[in-house]
């Protein structure tokens, strides 16, 4: 089949009534989660993983992906109107979005954010369609040494791009690698580090881990201080008007889309980093950079376009290489595995319905979001008035039921609470959870490819440096690691923010 046939086939899968319904559920929940600060796409996707057991693999993946890109749309509403980002990727939108709202331009800001997100999302899907195939074809040449080097490079880039200390990110990645090894050894089937719990024979589940680290710990942190939300009472008008202002933001939208698309593919990239980079790039391109932060439409258009472009381009490494580029993709990876679908180069050949159905559903989802967001902004804003004291018990209960329903096991609840405690301590002590989860997901692949490589080479480590593809991945990883170490030594503050 040629690409045109695949596109038609994908549309036929995505527009099946069942899949349309799951797409709508996904983008609706995504927008809702994006609007309500606290849960985030990672927690929401983990929460719904058990629900997907009862539906088809294609429907499940369409719904989970819908949550992610739906979140990017929803998060901007809170950033603009409340100055509280509903989602980490919309933090930067607060700067100009909220200022625009204060000037009575909330409608224009919301409008440009939605339209920009739609354009960026659509452009990104084009990129995904045309890039995934060649990358997957290239990845078919990969053997165990290449996969080991690729994962190593991914983990180093992830810690390199981390917001806080690189040293701490590395430590978290190592802990994630260790947690991923708990359970039966894949080669000898002997239990490792199960501490006598038979429930740990299959390893630590991704859902209790993610729900604990992100969902429960977020609630624990929020309990420390009363969360006060003041919605800026402004007339939300001009959503469809002010075409002149929208046109003035067209280059910001295009630049944001390109930046978002590129950053989304990078390991450790994703929507959060994309929005920050796009804002910085836009400031560079602007003739009035000093006006950024005072309510400039470009300051809303660029990051909002970038986070949507990144949300969709980050599917490329996951679907074509089987390597999740960020923590949300790691959860999606878990979702695919639950349905016995192995992400990677063979996915496009073995499960074209999943790949093309998902890609085409994103077009449909973007249109749904456009229709859902512009007319319903008033309703989303009203949701923000739900007091946190009513919201957090419900979120907590969703987490409990979601985790329990995985294996109908109370042990999973204990595990989630334990990781909630760990996540809380990590936040208090300045450690990020994302490298831990990413490393946890990649750990089995890293170990099996490492052991297979050594068996192939008769115990020689040179196998990782003798094959050209593996060597180039290793070279990038080593370069980034050494670059970071030397620059930190130069600055003389190794364990401060730079390293």
């Amino acid at each position: 089949m040629g690409i045109a046939e695949y596109i038609i086939y994908g549309f036929s899968v995505a527009t099946q009534p069942e899949n349309l319904f799951y797409c709508f559920v996904g983008v609706f929940i995504g927008t809702l989660i994006g609007v309500l600060p606290g849960i985030g796409p990672t927690g929401a996707m983990s929460l719904l993983l058990p629900v997907t057991f009862h539906i088809s693999p294609v429907g499940a993946i369409i719904m989970l992906a819908g949550i992610y890109y739906g979140c990017q749309y929803g998060g901007s509403i809170t950033s603009i109107l409340v100055n509280i980002p509903g989602e980490a990727s919309t933090v930067i939108t607060c700067l100009d979005g909220y200022e625009m709202a204060k000037k009575g331009k909330a409608g224009i800001a919301l409008g440009v954010s939605t339209i920009g997100s739609f354009i960026a999302g659509t452009l990104s899907i084009f990129g995904l369609m045309f890039l995934a195939f060649p990358i997957a074809k290239f990845a078919l040449k990969f053997g165990p040494p290449e996969y080991f080097s690729l994962v190593c490079m991914g983990l180093v880039i992830l810690t390199f791009l981390t917001r806080g200390s690189m040293l701490k990110a590395l430590m978290m990645a190592l802990i994630g690698l260790f947690i991923g090894l708990i359970g039966l050894d894949p080669f000898t089937a002997r239990p490792r580090f199960t501490f006598g719990f038979k429930e740990l024979m299959d390893g630590v589940g991704i859902v209790p881990l993610v729900m604990g680290l992100f969902g429960v710990s977020e609630i624990l942190i929020n309990l420390e201080e009363e969360l006060t939300r003041e919605i800026y009472r402004t007339q939300i008008a001009g959503l469809y008007r002010s075409l002149k202002e929208w046109v003035s933001a067209k280059w910001a939208i295009i630049r944001g889309s390109i930046v978002g698309f590129i950053v989304g593919i990078l390991p450790g990239g994703g929507a959060v980093l994309a929005s920050f980079v796009a804002y910085a790039v836009e400031k560079r391109f602007s003739s009035t950079p000093e006006k950024f932060g005072t309510g400039l439409i470009e300051g809303v258009a660029a990051p909002e376009s970038a986070n949507n472009a990144a949300a969709q381009s980050s599917l490329i490494p996951l679907l074509s290489l089987g390597i999740p580029s960020n923590v949300v993709m790691a959860v999606l990876y878990g979702g695919l595995l639950i349905h016995n679908i192995q992400p990677g180069p063979l996915l496009l050949k073995e499960h074209p319905d999943v790949f093309w159905g998902l890609v085409m559903s994103m077009y449909v989802g973007n249109i749904m979001l456009l229709l859902l967001n512009l007319p319903l902004i008033g309703i989303w804003v009203r949701l923000l008035r739900i007091p946190y004291k009513y919201l957090f018990p419900i979120v907590l209960l969703f987490c409990i039921v979601g985790v329990y329903s995985l294996n109908n096991s109370i042990f999973e609840i204990y595990l989630m609470v334990f990781f909630g405690f760990v996540g809380y301590l990590m936040r208090k002590f300045g450690f990020e959870a994302a490298p831990l989860v990413m490393a946890y997901v990649l750990s089995p692949l890293l170990e099996s490819s490492f052991r297979q490589s050594l068996s192939l080479s008769g115990g020689s480590f040179s196998i990782f440096f003798s094959k050209p593809i593996s060597l180039s991945f290793m070279a990038v990883a080593l370069f980034l690691l050494l670059f970071q170490i030397f620059s930190a030594i130069k600055k003389g503050r190794m364990h401060k923010s730079s390293f």
């Binding site: 430590m171 802990i175 260790f178 090894l181 580090f193 309990l223 009513y390 204990y414 002590f429 115990g459």
Partner: protein, 155 residues
């Protein structure tokens, strides 16, 4: 943050050393045939090195009086909630989903939310039943019914 780093790195160093020891006991194997303990050993070994580095750096800074205090006053509510969640998981098997969820919701809204007892009771009953009917009846999820109720049944 230096004092935070001092405590967290000490904890991580201890944990990494323990894993190292356990992994060594499990068996490292040979380079051409690595054993089950090989990967955990080297992962924890590198973690121990990094933790020791962070510990040493933080210790020097704390000694120079750049530690900063650790505020424990804000920890009360989160620790209380964690205790409640562990208790919830423990009681779930015995009292069943409906009863334990009702109690948890009541505690959360009354003691954390500062809501009146009447409103808290109403909210807790409502939420418990909505969740029960949604998941146990709607999605056919076998939520625990409670051993104690089976025990108390006549006959």
């Amino acid at each position: 943050m230096e004092r935070h780093n001092l405590y967290s790195s000490s904890l991580l160093l201890a944990m990494a050393s323990l894993i190292c020891y356990k992994a060594y006991r499990i068996g490292l194997g040979r380079p051409d045939n690595p054993g089950e303990g090989f990967a955990p050993f080297w992962i924890s070994f590198v973690l121990a090195l990094l933790s020791a580095y962070l510990l040493f750096g933080s210790y020097l800074k704390v000694m120079k009086g750049r530690g900063g205090p650790i505020g424990v006053a804000t920890w009360r509510k989160p620790v209380y909630l964690l205790f409640l969640l562990f208790l919830y998981a423990f009681l779930l098997r015995f009292l069943g989903f409906l009863a334990v969820t009702f109690l948890l919701m009541l505690f959360l809204l009354y003691s954390f939310g500062g809501e009146s007892l009447r409103k808290s009771l109403l909210f807790s009953v409502l939420i418990s039943f909505i969740f029960y009917f949604l998941f146990a009846r709607g999605l056919q999820l076998p939520l625990p019914t409670g051993l104690i109720w089976d025990y108390l049944k006549p006959g």
